[in-house]
Symmetry: C2
Amino acid sequence: MRENTARPAVLPVAPTRSRLRPLGLDEVRITGGFWARRRRTNATVTLGHCRDWMERAGWTGNFRAAAEGRIHRDRRGREFADSETYKLLEAMAWAAAGGGPDTSLDADTAALTEVIAPAQDPDGYLNTAFGRPGQQPRYSDLEWGHELYCHGFLIQAGVAQARARGEGELTKIARRAADHVCATFGQGGIESVCGHPEIETALVELARLTGEQRYLHQAALFVERRGHGTLADIEFGRAYYQDDTPVRQATVLRGHAVRALYLAAGAVDVAVETGDDALLAAVVRQWENTVARRTYLTGGMGSHHRDEAFGDDFVLPPDRAYAETCAGVASVMLSWRLLLATGEPRFADLAERTLFNVVAASPSEDGRAFFYANTLHRRHRGTVPPADTQSPRAESGLRAPWFAVSCCPTNVARTLAQLPAYLATADDHGVQLHQYADAEIATSLAGGHGVALRVRTDYPSGGHVAVRIGRAPAHPWTLSLRVPAWTAGATAWLVDPDGVRRAVAPGTAEVTRVFRPGDEVRLELPVAPRWTHPDPRIDAVRGTVAVERGPLVYCAESVDLPVGHEADAIRVDPSTEPEDAPAGPDDASGTGGTVLVPGELAAPGDVPDDAWPYRPLGLPAAPRAADRAGIALVPYHTWANRGPSTMRVWLPTTQPPTRSTGR
Amino acid sequence: MRENTARPAVLPVAPTRSRLRPLGLDEVRITGGFWARRRRTNATVTLGHCRDWMERAGWTGNFRAAAEGRIHRDRRGREFADSETYKLLEAMAWAAAGGGPDTSLDADTAALTEVIAPAQDPDGYLNTAFGRPGQQPRYSDLEWGHELYCHGFLIQAGVAQARARGEGELTKIARRAADHVCATFGQGGIESVCGHPEIETALVELARLTGEQRYLHQAALFVERRGHGTLADIEFGRAYYQDDTPVRQATVLRGHAVRALYLAAGAVDVAVETGDDALLAAVVRQWENTVARRTYLTGGMGSHHRDEAFGDDFVLPPDRAYAETCAGVASVMLSWRLLLATGEPRFADLAERTLFNVVAASPSEDGRAFFYANTLHRRHRGTVPPADTQSPRAESGLRAPWFAVSCCPTNVARTLAQLPAYLATADDHGVQLHQYADAEIATSLAGGHGVALRVRTDYPSGGHVAVRIGRAPAHPWTLSLRVPAWTAGATAWLVDPDGVRRAVAPGTAEVTRVFRPGDEVRLELPVAPRWTHPDPRIDAVRGTVAVERGPLVYCAESVDLPVGHEADAIRVDPSTEPEDAPAGPDDASGTGGTVLVPGELAAPGDVPDDAWPYRPLGLPAAPRAADRAGIALVPYHTWANRGPSTMRVWLPTTQPPTRSTGR
């Protein structure tokens, strides 16, 4: 790892040392394409949508009620409702940083900060659910109270403000809260942790911002304390909040997915700042096992609705996938930290998959509705959620405007707001591109030599990436481009500024030379649709296949079938390759385009059942009418945007699958 | 339907009119075999085990604390803890009825009744969780409070005492409670229902006992009120407690499985007593759709851990099967009521499946530990539950002595105690045998003509059933025997007293004649092990098969594999028939014996994973070593009796399944 010399970049994550140096929102700008549209909607619609809903739900009002001494009777929302305001403030800070001269976000931030400030106690404690007359005492319910979780997001918001707009009132509130946390949970204080990890990564980031090591030490203390059973043994078991096994001994992520991922991200932060290679290696091992055995094709994590938790190895039921949006956000946070720490492209691969197929799947096209859970199979059409009341979070038929537990909308908002920072990094040898979008990148290499790049791409509909050099030092340096893991089995090409074309394997493709302004490096990725089949140990999808195209997972949706047919009536024939639909990838919508696969479609209608759905082998049910048909598939992230529908990612085959490999 | 003239039989369910007349515990005695052993353990071990645990957990003490005015600070257990004492009292009443001269159960009942009695309020209300100073007011939380649920079980216990031992103090307490319920929830009272149905069936049974129609009317009112949204719309939705759709409009069971099944049983009771054929038809339709689309091979019901609920149609994941023991008990209650009302053997078929594969699976051989959830697939070995603390209910690796929510042990206990009543019925034409066990049956037919039968069988290990006539009228009558639905695809034979042998199809086999003492009717059922395959719409078990033998579902358990192998390493070859293991069915243990199936066993050990468990079609993973092997299977109900193990009911095949039928 290398030291990152202090510099005034607008960085969501700013390790003092790392293998790769992150670039700030002042260094990377997304200028067009898929993510530009999503970010525009986020900035112009979603931020306001969240603010309005928090006001309407009374969650912002909780701060006023606290300041006015009536919170014990007037409080609204769940115990963690405060955190939504903080996450929104963080999102607004990053959006303001990338938003140019418009200062309305700054005014909104100031107004919300004025609401929050009077609710902070003199010692820095800030929570509207605990500690006042008529409420439970502070930290009397570490298992479920979320007080440190809320403080963590407050600190993240304060850091974001300082980095994006300069230190302001919100940053001061955050520092006071952090000082309170250190005073209360430091050596000699309460020797426990929060039921929901989050404070760890927040404290490290504050240490990075301020240079004050006590914040880092407190974060390290929280990471080391967990796993020793200081929290109660609840019905879900202590694994629910990762208090079953110390972080450095665990081999896989387990329990509540968002908690597990936030904790792992915090552990990486601590490991990087303290140079603790053993801790870093432990998290890498957990990531590897989790990706190999506990992750959905979409990148989604969490197989249980009951406890919003990871399942056992290979328990990945598509129809009961929880795959919470916040777990997707947290997975990207973890992969990004591991990418910075190690430089290994596999972490960017998972981040890409998760961004396109979980984070992008949550918000509707108009930015006013969200998925909380991201199922991979929907058996009956949902009903349109009410526009004016909060929806249950686990209902996954259609996106809803707000939830009783509404962590996901603001988490998506802060992720989209900071997205440019995930695109590229630098090191002593050059610049690395990890995610592909139309973008302008300007930074300096070692010795202060400026580099400027312009990226043009039709990603994710197409696989053409062109990187044009705008400014470059006069000496040789290296431009690195990630060749996605999804290209395995097809050929990707790299074209250097001289027009020399060479096949490149998944991993990293590099061009090292003296670049001149106007030089162009091109990457050509094979985005033809492809069949994907699952590990035979995933019982829930035995005998099915899926279709992917570039970084996008596809699905069949009933709105694309003849009237009256449902997605469960589909059988596909994987002996023939899937193809782009005649109209070609739908570049105009930027969603990735429609794909056609050969198959059969059973006749619609409520066919009579057998009285008992199990029968002796050799006594098959009467065959039902099925027509050969081309089945249209659409990118998973677009599903349910056209009204209620049934949906499948994993499609049963008309042909028997290949013989089991005995695994 | 026919009127059942009043007679002093010891009947758990005593409809005043029905197609078939139930026989009492004074008319049917189980004398040996599988269920006799289970019942003996229940009477001699489990009843005391439950009483000791309730004392230790403080649940019995709640009644004392209530009487002594300290319950607001001393109460222990969940809001429904009172009901366990009542269910135990019911179990003790039925056990005493069948237990001969030993009066220790009567003494125990008297002692427990003395504990309960002082906690009853003057107006009949009895609940230790509500209504006293420092507690929530009565009926302030109908959604979760379980007050009517508790009253319901109290009434059931009072009815059981009256029927089994004559009306006593417990019956008086129960009547006062029922009077309170009618006064409080009748016309002009609280116009709502309990979040957990149960009171319905209890009130009907009290009406049957006492002849007082107001109890029946109150039950009918509760049935009709449900489905109209008088309960809150919780995160699980109102379907959780069946308050989404009126009973007579619903087409399938949904929501919390135990709630749905108790409600359906109560609706049948109301329909039968009031002659409401439309209501009965509605429940029959719900039963049909639930059995065809929402029931596990074991008879287990409930696919969701999150809300202990039915899933959508064909959502039956074996590894996340909840299949709560109490849902099995409730399903038997429902099927029995439908069998009495209609006389159709399909209801006895499901009851048999559920008794052998859910109810019998819950308790351990020694009667001191229980499954709460009954999974059909266990991926990792469980740990031995603590002997002295309550276990989480959803942990399903090994049976546990007691649970924080411990509804299942007492529910199993009361079911085993009343089991003889499920064996046979009578009508004007003769006697019907529905379940097979060594038994002695004595009743009278129309006109007071006595009939006595003696049943001998090796069921469920074998399929020989011999019914010997002990006493019979001098005129012709009909002996009916259920030919189980599981015999479909093989041949069952009936042998009449003259030795004439004829093939009989699933349904009912009858012999009508003038029987003489010593006459014997024999039924020969084909219990050879057989492959069973699932409806292709059950996604979670595509590409797998199961083995059944007679009424028993089988499973593979890792304790029967070479050391180090797990159940997930098994692939079976269904092109060859399963066979009884060389030693033959293990009659000695009475468990049904071991079966051998051909297959493969992958090499053990923690093989390295692929980094990502999804790959392009045509790029299969490297095959792993697999040896041909005979795989031993054991009856599902015996699993986990030999220590921690991994287990599967549905076994992936080495061969591709037959081509999809396009359903």
